[in-house]
């Protein structure tokens, strides 16, 4: 099976092609076909996992060469796929969660006229994402990287006749482009320093540049920071995060698949995969950690200020990925991966459940207009509660294990300040996720419409996701150091040194749980207990409410930063065009006209002046001849 790993991305690609060309004739079958390709990919990935596990620990690596891709002078690159514990983990997440989301979409997008096109895009996205994680060299990874960016654009702007959606798609593409450009520079630098782009040579123990010596620390830092820039863009961390909240204009399945479970985690994958480069740099890892922590706190605060359900979840995603970056920055790569896997489950669950809410209430997402939906949508309420509590970190749900491991690592590795901030972040995340739970499903009913529960086709996949949200932590990461996932990924990611600083394990555990429970309780008190008038908050504290709701006005800042030079430059170009270019052209014409005003002066019509001129010429000629001879 390992040799046939190429089938896993090939099937969704074929599915996309079929749906593009014949989708309109297939009706609902288009959706089942698309889901089948991804589900088949999942099955094949499981088989590949089995094959991989049958190999001893340190030999769990299989590289398949597909074909010679680029040959340009001295630059030669093959298309090779790499199956190792890290990539197979990502493949399983992408195909597993992806298949469930596909099935959900069959029900969600049932009435959409471009049903088949949606599934074509979804399949295409899965193909590119799989290429990204299965690539064995940086250029193939970049291919997948760009491809998922493209599909994100197509899917965010799926309802392209809505200006908000079209603008959001443009914004996403352009913002991530900034990161992508930096990343490409990073890849070029890799080539310059290593003369190869393959993971085995760049990241492995036999890495060397053409001269046999290792590149300088400066080179490593430069490469790492450039790759980090790409990751920051794709994973919506500070400062390239502005596209993610707007990306919620796309359908909920898109938000679930792309902007929760898979694409936004590509940045984490990149950092984790290239951790050798980051470690050789040293400073780069610190930058990762700082960005992660800052994004986590920032997004948490912003999420509390949002009234749109999906935007609150979007900021939540940003915050959770911040935690993943934080973990990676500390060197705790397996911890980041554990959070990535668990987050995929519960965040997809949360997004799809909000899709249920929108489906049941004709697209309403403003939480001020929701409330008390528990009675009419009990199943959805249950899913949301499971997802929210998992994210909050209530044991024994998945988020608890993942987050606790990371926060504790900060403490035990001696990073006290980071531990305190991370704990605050953990408190805030529980707070910000309990808020939509209580606002939407508990408390008073604030809308008049009757909300109907989602059909079984949509709720069935959610059951599996909920199962994952409940059990993933228990199964994969029961202990911080010797969990199943830790041991599985150790050959690729190494074993992090947890250290022995700080309070003991029990104390840390208690603090974690305590914070989570406290946060949920506070959230209950504010938003569900009817004892706090939270609706009056924007009026009583308009400034603070404004800062939170507008995510600290970063969007406005960027708009101003881009607008002012943009408009100025535009005006400059316009003036240049008008004065210089048009001026030159028109000016030439005007000059010619001016000059030609002098020409008729010699055409007086008087024969005598013509004769004079004529005879002057003769005299001159005579003079010339006279002087010659």
């Amino acid at each position: 099976m390992l040799r046939l790993i190429w089938l896993v991305p090939a099937l969704p690609l074929a599915g996309a092609a079929v749906n593009v060309f014949f989708g309109h004739r297939l009706g609902r079958f288009a959706g089942w076909l698309a889901s089948a390709t991804v589900a088949a990919g999942y099955v094949l990935a499981v088989i590949a996992l089995g094959d991989l596990l049958s190999l001893p620990d340190h030999e769990r690596l299989h590289v398949t060469r597909l074909f010679h891709w680029i040959g340009a002078g001295r630059f030669s690159l093959d298309a090779t796929l790499r199956v190792d514990p890290l990539s197979i983990t990502m493949v399983l997440v992408v195909t597993g969660v992806g298949a469930l989301i596909h099935i959900y979409s069959i029900g969600y997008m049932e009435h959409d006229p471009r049903f088949a096109r949606f599934f074509a895009y979804l399949n295409l996205f899965v193909f590119f994402m799989l290429m990204l994680v299965l690539a064995d060299n940086y250029l193939l990874l970049y291919l997948g990287w760009e491809g998922v960016g493209l599909c994100s654009y197509l899917l965010i702007g799926f309802w392209h006749d809505r200006p908000a959606a079209a603008n959001a798609a443009k914004k996403a593409f352009i913002t991530t482009r900034i990161g992508d450009a930096a990343m490409l520079l990073g890849i070029v630098l890799i080539w310059v320093n290593f003369h190869t782009l393959e993971f085995g040579n760049v990241l492995g123990p036999t890495r060397s540049s053409g001269t046999g010596a290792l590149p300088s620390t400066g080179a490593y830092t430069a490469i790492s920071l450039l790759l980090l820039a790409g990751a920051v863009g794709k994973s919506a961390q500070l400062p390239l995060h502005v596209w993610l909240p707007d990306a919620m204009e796309g359908p909920s399945p898109v938000s679930a698949l792309i902007h929760a479970a898979t694409m936004v985690t590509a940045g984490v994958y990149l950092i984790v995969r290239s951790h050798v480069l980051f470690e050789m740099s040293g400073t780069a890892l610190t930058v990762v950690m700082v960005i992660g922590l800052a994004s986590a706190i920032y997004a948490a605060l912003a999420s509390i200020g949002q009234f749109d359900l999906k935007r609150a979840l979007a900021y939540s995603t940003m915050s959770q990925i911040g935690f993943m970056f934080f973990a990676a920055g500390m060197g705790f790569y397996t911890g980041a991966m554990l959070l990535l896997v668990c987050h995929a489950f519960y965040k997809a669950l949360l997004f799809l459940t909000s899709g249920n809410v929108m489906h049941g209430l004709d697209g309403e997402t403003d939480m001020r207009k929701l409330g008390g939906l528990r009675a009419e949508m009990p199943v959805s309420a249950m899913w949301f509660a499971i997802g929210a509590l998992a994210l909050a970190g209530i044991p024994p749900l998945a988020g608890f294990f993942a987050k606790d491991h990371i926060v504790s690592f900060a403490a035990t590795s001696g990073r006290s300040a980071a531990w305190v901030i991370a704990s605050i972040g953990a408190f805030l995340s529980a707070l910000y996720i309990a808020r939509p739970l209580f606002l939407t499903f508990f408390g008073d009913r604030r809308n008049q419409e009757h909300a109907h529960e989602a059909p079984r086709l949509m709720n069935a996949p959610l059951a599996l996701l909920a199962l994952g949200a409940v059990t993933a932590g228990l199964v994969l990461g029961f202990t911080a150091e010797r969990g199943v996932l830790d041991r599985f990924l150790a050959p690729v990611l190494g074993v992090a040194d947890h250290g022995t600083h700080g309070p003991s394990e029990i104390v840390l555990l208690a603090i974690s749980v305590g914070l989570a429970v406290a946060a949920v309780a506070v959230a209950w008190w504010i938003w569900a207990s009817r004892r706090v008038d939270w609706q009056a908050f924007p009026e009583r504290q308009p400034e603070l409410a404004g800062w939170l709701a507008n995510a600290f006005y970063i969007n406005s800042l960027y708009a101003w930063l881009v607008q002012v030079p943009g408009k100025g430059f535009g005006r400059l170009l316009a003036t240049f065009d008008e004065r210089a270019v048009d001026g030159a052209v028109n000016g030439t014409g005007a000059e010619v006209r001016q000059a030609s005003r002098f020409a008729p002066l010699i055409q007086s019509g008087f024969v005598r002046s013509y004769a004079l001129a004529f005879l002057l010429g003769v005299a001159a000629l005579l003079l010339f001849l006279g002087l010659r001879f």
């Binding site: 008087f606 005598r608 004079l612 005879l615 002057l616 005299a619 006279g626």
Partner: protein, 195 residues
């Protein structure tokens, strides 16, 4: 003093003087008359230079035919009125005078460089060239070497005569359609009017 010297020094000033006078005359007839004087002096020069035939032809053709023709046209057109002294074109007169003087000076220097002011004509021109008289000698050259140009110029004269007849004939003015219609209307009207 030798005769030809005297003749030269008498007629040269008359020649140049009459030419200048012709230039300054405001009346066209007076100018023509001065030009006739000039032609006479040139005829004399021809005689002195050993071309008696040309002397005769000059007087007969130039002074006798061409200038008479000029006078006919002047009188016919009645343009013997006085021409105004003001020149419309700015700077035309001064430049023209400068040009004239310049031309003379140039030619003066050219002649001095070419021939020099002391070269005299060979003495025995009559014996050497004008054998049997100038007319006979001229006709010998004319009807032998220059026969073709001779015939060509005769054709030229005929063509000129025809051209003049064509040019000078009074042309009928083209009648416009409006005038034609008016003519017809005026021709028809007496019939329709009651007597």
């Amino acid at each position: 003093m030798p005769l030809d010297n005297v003749v030269f020094w008498v007629f040269a000033p008359i020649s140049v003087g009459s030419a200048l006078a012709m230039l300054f005359q405001r009346n066209a007839v007076h100018a023509a008359l001065f030009l006739i004087i000039n032609f006479f002096t040139i005829a004399v020069f021809f005689l002195v230079l050993g071309a008696p035939f040309l002397f005769a032809v000059q007087i007969i053709v130039y002074a006798g035919a061409i200038m008479v023709l000029f006078l006919f046209v002047i009188m016919l057109l009645g343009v013997d009125g006085n021409e105004s002294l003001i020149d419309r074109l700015n700077g035309q007169r001064p430049v023209a005078i400068v040009l004239g003087t310049g031309l003379v000076l140039e030619l003066f220097f050219a002649i001095r460089a070419g021939i020099g002011f002391s070269a005299k004509a060979p003495a025995d021109f009559d014996a050497a060239v004008n054998k049997g008289g100038n007319a006979a000698a001229l006709s010998r050259v004319l009807f032998r070497q220059y026969f073709f140009p001779f015939e060509a110029t005769s054709v030229l004269l005929i063509v000129a005569a025809i051209a003049v007849m064509v040019l000078a004939s009074r042309q009928r003015r083209a009648i416009t359609r409006a005038e034609q219609a008016a003519e017809e209307r005026s021709a028809r009207t007496p019939r329709t009017e009651p007597a």
